[in-house]
Symmetry: C2
């Protein structure tokens, strides 16, 4: 932009929402603010684990309605799934073996590197103690079970960055593996609201036995446009124990010592997502993003470009023509097409040869950008 001040860039790079907060959420937050302005209805510290009114709505709508027997007190309201995914390491030993997908959301890797579980960083761009689970076009972006036993396994479905969803059967294999090997699955389900394919599980707790081997992270960020508002939750079932310790109790202690709850106003906004108006407005917003994703993917496939994602997730994972690496493609699309993308190699070595496009942008600009991407890649 400094070199070409007249040029207008179109970003398909950042995973941030662009549509405003829903009217139902806005109304609820205005009301909550009014409550905070009067001594009779003012609220100080929230309960550490969140307000019961929100825990109950989550338990009913996101779990019980899907046959998952999660109770309100197993839900921890927080300021973000990123914080929770990173902080969860506090309740695991530094000796634990960690498995991550490749490509992967960098927070899982970096937070474990910071707490000493990753080992040394090698010249191949990999950490010596991490177990990597390649996710490639060949395995349909669903990793094989680890060859080496892992104590902590990070899974993210619908996946960031590949956009892939996981079937009930595939996820059941992971749950069975974890139960057999005493692993804990750290299941990041931040993009759950984008699932459209029937039979794809919306929560790991749809799988029998998951309550004994999984922690699930959820967020209002992508579900309800809360990236700048901040609300998420983490489910740690009472039945989850390791080495005779309740992980629920450990996380409760961690949160009550190192966290002071989420803004009352924000929790009221999150609760409004579950009203009939909120649910309708949520479907409408997500519908916009997903229509965008479908258009992007259709246009690329029509140009003969292989893509993952875009059906159960706002991300399209574009396979570059052979011989073209992620960063060269990034530079080419930026300089020739004025389009910002995310180079796949930034997510891990198996991301090399891919770029990630997001469907969070303005629909019209996104199609212009996608047309340019297709034209440039076809012309190589």
């Amino acid at each position: 932009m400094q070199e070409n001040p007249g040029v207008e860039l179109i970003s398909m790079g950042i995973g941030d929402v662009t549509l405003p907060l829903f009217p139902a959420v806005i109304d609820a937050m205005h009301s909550a603010l009014d409550e905070m302005s009067r001594a009779e209805t003012f609220r100080g510290y929230s309960p550490d684990q969140g307000y019961p009114f929100l825990q109950e709505l989550i338990a009913e709508n996101d779990y019980r309605s899907r046959g998952a027997a999660i109770t309100p007190d197993e839900i921890f309201i927080s300021d973000g799934a990123k914080s929770d995914c990173a902080n969860i390491g506090d309740i695991f030993s530094p000796e634990c073996t960690v498995a991550v997908c490749d490509p992967v959301y960098p927070v899982y890797v970096d937070s474990n590197a910071m707490s000493g579980r990753a080992g040394d960083f090698g010249a191949d761009g990999r950490w010596s103690r991490l177990v990597y689970l390649p996710c490639t076009a060949e395995n349909n972006f669903t990793p094989e079970l680890p060859s080496k036993a892992a104590d902590m396994i990070y899974l993210c479905y619908p996946n960031n960055p590949t956009g892939a969803a996981i079937t009930f059967e595939a996820l059941k294999k992971w749950v069975d593996y974890a139960l057999e090997h005493d692993s804990v699955i750290l299941y990041d389900s931040a993009y759950e609201a984008y699932i459209s394919t029937p039979g794809v599980p919306h929560t790991i707790f749809e799988i029998p036995g998951a309550e004994r081997c999984a922690i699930e992270f959820r967020s209002f960020s992508k579900t309800a446009g809360f990236t700048g508002t901040r609300c998420a939750y983490t489910v740690v079932p009472h039945a989850l124990e390791r080495s005779g310790q309740s992980l629920h109790e450990l996380w409760r202690r961690r949160q009550s010592t190192k966290f002071n709850g989420v803004s009352y106003i924000v929790q009221r906004g999150a609760a409004a997502v579950y009203t009939p108006q909120g649910q309708a407005q949520k479907l409408e917003t997500i519908g916009c993003y997903m229509k965008n994703a479908k258009n992007i993917r259709d246009m690329l496939e029509a140009a003969g470009i292989f893509c993952g994602g875009g059906t159960d997730s706002p991300y399209v994972w574009l396979k570059l023509p052979s011989g073209l690496d992620s960063w060269s493609a990034f530079d080419m699309l930026l300089c020739r097409g004025n389009v910002v993308t995310t180079p796949g190699a930034g997510f891990g070595s198996c991301g090399e040869g891919y770029i990630r496009l997001t469907a969070f942008g303005d629909p019209e600009s996104s199609l212009i950008a996608t047309e340019r991407v297709a034209a440039i890649l076809r012309g190589i």
Copy 2:
């Protein structure tokens, strides 16, 4: 309350505010919410370190105006001083020696116990690797310098729980000590707004050289009634280095990996605290609490009971008649006076023989409760 359902308890125990958010804050948050309701003005992810509009107001009003050369980019906006005080351990080695006051805000101790810096918990109620700094009536609640070198020193002024403030000269001794011994002072200044005594420093960065040995934690919780709204900040100066590492860069990396910023709406609310209306409303609110604190302290002293705090802090630290321990006093005041207090022993062994009273309650109820406390203790 179960045993005596008709009885009305008065709480002087919890350190939570009760007066509503200021009108200036409420107005700013309503406006910010309106911005979030329109695509043109909607905000997604906040900058990790906070919005510059808030960082600049803090740097100008809380630091430069007091002669402390803190720049906006040295300020990290967060969701709470508790989170920051606890998470700061992430950038220190598990080998570091930690010094804490006794009595002490339990978060400093517990977060270090969790990260392995505390050693073993002894029968005397003390952790084997912590260096304890007794704060008693004898030393006017200002600790002596540690006899054993400490890498991390937690100081909190105005103090929770003793309510004591620290003079410029006393704090300078700590800064000089830290500079000489390569210690880092973790300075919790959550109650800064309650300082009324002239000459008491409002920030550790008033002391020359503190930018090379201190991290400061501040919060809008007690300053602006944000306990249920959530906004705080931590200052890590660029000049602070240990073992050739910039602690600012380490904390920046920690926060950008494990935290996703504070709600835009909340940051706008915090910024409104610095408007002329916000400042006037803040003084008024704090004036109410401090008038309450003065009344509580005056009434107790008139009854011949020795108290600390209550002049530069919302806490009154009451010395019990000799022979009466904290928990017995707690039980007695609860059962005979229907008053909830906080037993000093809960803050550490040097808190034994004290109870903490807070001035955050309704003024009328607080005086009724204090009268009962005085009558019961006088009657022993």
